[in-house]
Amino acid sequence: MALLNGILAQLLNGLRIGSIYALIALGYTMVYGIAKMINFAHGDIIMVGAYALYVFVSLLHVHPALAVVLTIGFCAVMGITIEKIAYKPLRNAQRLAVLITAIGVSYLLQNLALLIFKATPIPFGSIIRVPSITVGEITISGLTMVTLAVTAVVMVGLTLFVNHTKMGHSMLAVSEDQGAAKLMGINVDRTITITFAIGSALAAVAGILYISQYESLLPTLGALPGIKAFVAAVLGGIGSIPGAMIGGLVLGIIESMSKAYISTQLADAIVFSMLVVVLLLKPSGILGKLSIEKV
């Protein structure tokens, strides 16, 4: 019984971290699916979201609910601005050029945060207060449930949006073939801009939940979850919205299970080995579709 409880508790730990990965991975996958670029600055937008929430709530004393809306709006606008300045001029350049610019943006955001908010971590209490549930000996924290619910809602919402709205259809078309989409009268630039707005808004949501979970603000806080979520997105099949969710949760669970039952020292190695194994068995991730190239 104790063993079973232990396993259950570790599973919940995995879900707790995995749901955050999943939420970040959704943003990654969204941008990748449509704009076909790995947005390395995605993790740093999470950081911006977390700091923005802190500024609104603690410094400007805005009501938390309004602060959440403002934070999401702020990040969406920032996403659009970054896209306009740094990514758009490179739309016709090699794909890697945009990748490097994204890295530049990532450095830029981190160093801006460092200059403005300094290097010392800032404590910032959670604005989300949900009581935890206790079933038998197992306690499920309220925040984990909220994060899971938000991630699930976002996933369903995004799927519906992409498949059942006009904008969503244009996104699919742009993702399939930018040139053809243009010929069909789709405004490609606008579609990509909106994709970035949505991606950044998702990053803001992730930032809000992340900071509510861990309660400490650092200029580099987005880097590690960012890279883990990137792994999660690839694991699930990059470009696939349900894949991102599955990838995130699977990654979180593997991580906490290997920490609990194999080795905390080698946990990272195990996680990445699993990734390599999964990709060798299924080269385009768990839910990714294998694109067959026609000659």
Binding site: N13, A119, Q265
Partner: protein, 374 residues
Amino acid sequence: MKKVLKTAGIACTIAMLASSVASAADTFLIGGVGPLTGAAASYGVSVKQGAEIAIEEINAAGGVTVGDTTYELALQFEDDQASEDIAPQAYNAVMDAGANVIMGAVTSGACIAITAQTYADGILQVTPSGSAEACIENDNAFRICFSDPEQGVAMADYMTDTLGLTKIAVIYNTADEYSTGIREAFEAEVAEKGGEIVASEAFQTNDTDFNAQLTTINGTDAEAIYVPAYYQDATYITKQASDMGMSLPFFGSDGWDGVLGTVTDPATVEGCIFTSPFCASVDDEKTVAFVEAYKAAYDATPDQFAADGYDCVYTFKAAMEQAGSIESADLIAAMTEISVSGQTGDPITFDASGAPIKDVKFVTVKDGAYTFVE
């Protein structure tokens, strides 16, 4: 490329000339090396600010008189991003500026990356916080803080002998030299004293989720948890432990200093005990003066790194006065003869190996404030 190098060379020669002119006006330049950007930035910034407070105090009081010349102290602090790759460049940049002594590097790895060069240059190097044993291997290198093993052993003795704890769990950072260094010494000493390490759980730098490790420890019969790590990690660990409803007492290393500034609820660290030579809320005159000056200048409470930086500057002052010259060899020779009344120890003296001789103190959090354990 050739042209760029040449221009750079000329520019630097001019800079060197300019700095040598400056030192003619009796300036004693302290060359600082430490992280000002990157993940470890807060340590370097603290050291720099602590040192600046000391320099201001000393200069306001008329500088340092050596023989019949009075020197004004100055600090040039270069960013090494806590990286072994960049530290040599940072060190050489301060040497180009004509540094008389080296304060640094702030982190162990970066410090070790420059020790061979400082030794070859024969310059006095005092690291405020490089706690690895290899930092002070050479004769010209000294340190202000305790070494990693000293701390681990001191805490192990305290926990087993004084508190009578026998079953101890450890959480440490496997990617960090400071953390692994203390952990090794601690575990060996606990075993020596007949105690038992019931769990030894690792994490990686920048990890923020410790639930898996804490759940594992919760399943053992541990009586206490020892976390040799920095305050950011301690913040996450104590918070997540209290969320899980764990009530085991926490023990930490000197990296814990500053933890009260980063927790959202002081109750999560109430009662924890850590080794620290410095405690900002002690009300003796010297500490209060330092804390107030620091608050006025930087709007922050000084941590142990700031205190180390402060003491480092006073160590240089003492060495200059003792040596009666500012020649590197004389300064180095004077180091073992001086006694510094600092923030992190009073008195601090140095042995021939370069290690400081000062008391290990234990700090606890009581009613949301730091106090020394009596």
